[in-house]
Symmetry: C2
Subunit: 367 residues, 2 copies
């Protein structure tokens, strides 16, 4: 746990979109920079499915964050100018209340008794944090991947609460390819006998299911093109291989996936994963536009927006970023649409800091 | 089992690329049309991973085959003119000898004692069938997907045995994205406790692993674009849903995947799947060109070639089809390269018969 982590108690009960409510729920968050006297320089960051609130190192926690090169003094999101808040999503297991938290009503871990979670709940809870910090209006709301959907949920539910929006590699609604991938990830976890309908523990833990889910994630987060250059057909050293297993790891790309899975499996709670993954499938702004994405986006009220997508992203394709940019333009915002050729696919916003940082810095400089 | 199925006894022992040998092995195949007196009108079809030799209905078996609209009298591969042979791959479980067959040395099912299988073995065994049918030279060798790799293996090992070649949605070598997908499919099977190191039976059978493997296959065989039009975000009728399961199937795309998995799980042997999948990862024509794909392809000796690929294929990208076309051109063949915009991705050759059929008919008419 990061020393820099702060907690915000959500209004209790916190009502959720699909009818549930949370008592005594909280959000974990971290901050960088200083809120101005006018309280008008706040930027909120809503994250993808797995990251914590530790976006970057700060005074309280020097360990590098998941957006270390993007966020800090003199960096693209310059904390000399902006007061930046990174929020751990409601439903996650990195400090915010989620299926892995204790239910105060029973003193037991929620597991599958956690109420049905939507990304609108994630957005609404982050909005409550803004109010709790006595900020009337954000200078900018940034959402990456799943966080981009949560941000659209926020914007639809709270008009007038955000001046500018940065939408990164996200979607106005889950498309069937992304649904298929996520559904299969959930199935891999649920089919693991150690998942046990959510009643696992450290001894009986769905390692195999989580490993498959993570590997499938990594495959779809990157791009085939990048991997041709990066791994080609390079094989592991014969010493590294386990020759007893006739179907064991042989190629570097397999070892790369195994490393990702190993680091993830025990660091993210499987039930939280299931809840957030399902929430992503459910997300559809068209619900706010009589079944039409464009009509829904037209209701969003921001002055300025930057919409960034990557041509090699197979999970959140560029066409969906274009759809968001078009919708916000129709809504009256002045929109910069940036289509990047980063080879890294969906994950490019995490690793292609030269391209993403330049676009974000340029946009923030105009605010 | 199809009544039309014929069997060919491979020369025994049949030596395999990685050192193994098979005793008393056989290939299943089916034929359409009549071999000419000059024995010069034969076309061989090598298939993808899962199809049987039943490419189309014929006099002995009226059930539709997997390429029903492509193959038959008056169809693009016109059996009024051509004598067509479709081969079930060595290592498969549709009549040819594979890991699910009885090892004559032990009278037990091979399972994982089956020798290491490569796609060159698949190609070489099909070549032996050609010789067994007393055909000196094929008019045309057609390979789809995995069968396209097996065909390249044949061509590299048996110069002068084929006049024309049709290469469809395949690869001169497995690239890391495809390796990653197949490795994960194999892992899902192997992690299923019922796989039991290959020692499953009908009662304890790796259903879950096979289901995940198949779903991942179907996801990567099709294209995101096609699914937007086909499934969008349509949900199942509430009656069809199993509401007891909070993470159960909700969207049509999930039900589509479940249907594919259901039909496949018990109809393809898991160990055969593992062997053929691993063989696809191993395949690399560069082995025949001092590490270079182009140098290897340059050694292939055919007069004419048609190379077809699809822009939406994420598993066997168009760039790999271009690579084959370029290599065969350098080798001195007259090559037609056809890049199709079929929306169906890798599977387009199975379903977009209008586009594929036209290209194949046009090419065959020039022979």
């Amino acid at each position: 746990m990061s020393d820099a982590r702060r907690y915000f108690d959500l209004p209790s009960p916190f009502a959720m979109k699909r009818g549930g409510a949370l008592t005594g729920a909280r959000l974990a968050y971290e901050t960088w920079g200083t809120l101005s006297a006018a309280r008008d320089n706040a930027i909120f960051i809503l994250t993808g499915l797995s990251p914590s609130a530790h976006g970057a190192s700060n005074a309280d926690d020097a360990t590098p964050g998941w957006w270390e090169d993007m966020l800090g003094p003199g960096k693209p999101i310059d904390t000399n100018r902006w007061f930046v808040v990174c929020v751990n999503s409601l439903g996650s297991c990195k400090g915010s209340t989620g299926p892995a938290s204790i239910d105060p009503a029973t003193d037991k871990v929620y597991k599958l008794t956690f109420p049905e979670l939507t990304l609108e709940d994630v957005g609404n809870s982050a909005f409550e944090l803004m109010r709790g910090l006595r900020i009337g209006k954000l200078a900018c709301l940034i959402g990456n991947s799943m966080g981009g959907m949560s941000a659209l949920g926020w914007l639809l539910h709270h008009p007038g609460s955000v001046r500018a929006h940065i939408s990164i590699s996200t979607a106005p609604q889950a498309q069937p390819f992304a649904i298929a991938i996520r559904s299969l990830q959930r199935e891999a976890i649920r089919l693991d006998p150690d998942w046990n309908d959510g009643n696992y523990d450290d001894t009986h833990y769905p390692e195999a299911g989580m490993s498959i889910a993570r590997k499938l994630g990594v495959i779809t987060y990157r791009s085939a093109m990048e991997w041709v250059g990066r791994f080609a057909r390079i094989r592991l050293d014969s010493e590294t291989r386990t020759d007893e297993d006739p179907f064991g790891v042989e190629f570097q790309v397999e070892s790369y996936l195994a490393g990702h899975a190993r680091r993830f499996v025990r660091s993210f709670d499987p039930n939280c994963y299931l809840y957030l993954s399902r929430a992503s499938d459910w997300f559809d702004v068209a619900e706010y536009g009589s079944g039409h994405v464009a009509a829904a986006l037209k209701r969003i009220d921001v002055e300025r927006a930057l919409v960034i997508g990557v041509s090699t992203d197979i999970l959140f394709p560029l066409s969906q970023q274009q759809e968001i940019a078009d919708g916000l333009t129709t809504a009256g915002a002045r929109v910069d649409f940036v289509a990047l050729d980063s080879p890294q696919g969906h994950d490019a916003f995490l690793v292609d800091i030269p391209r993403f940082g330049a676009a974000i810095a340029r946009f923030l400089a105009t605010l």
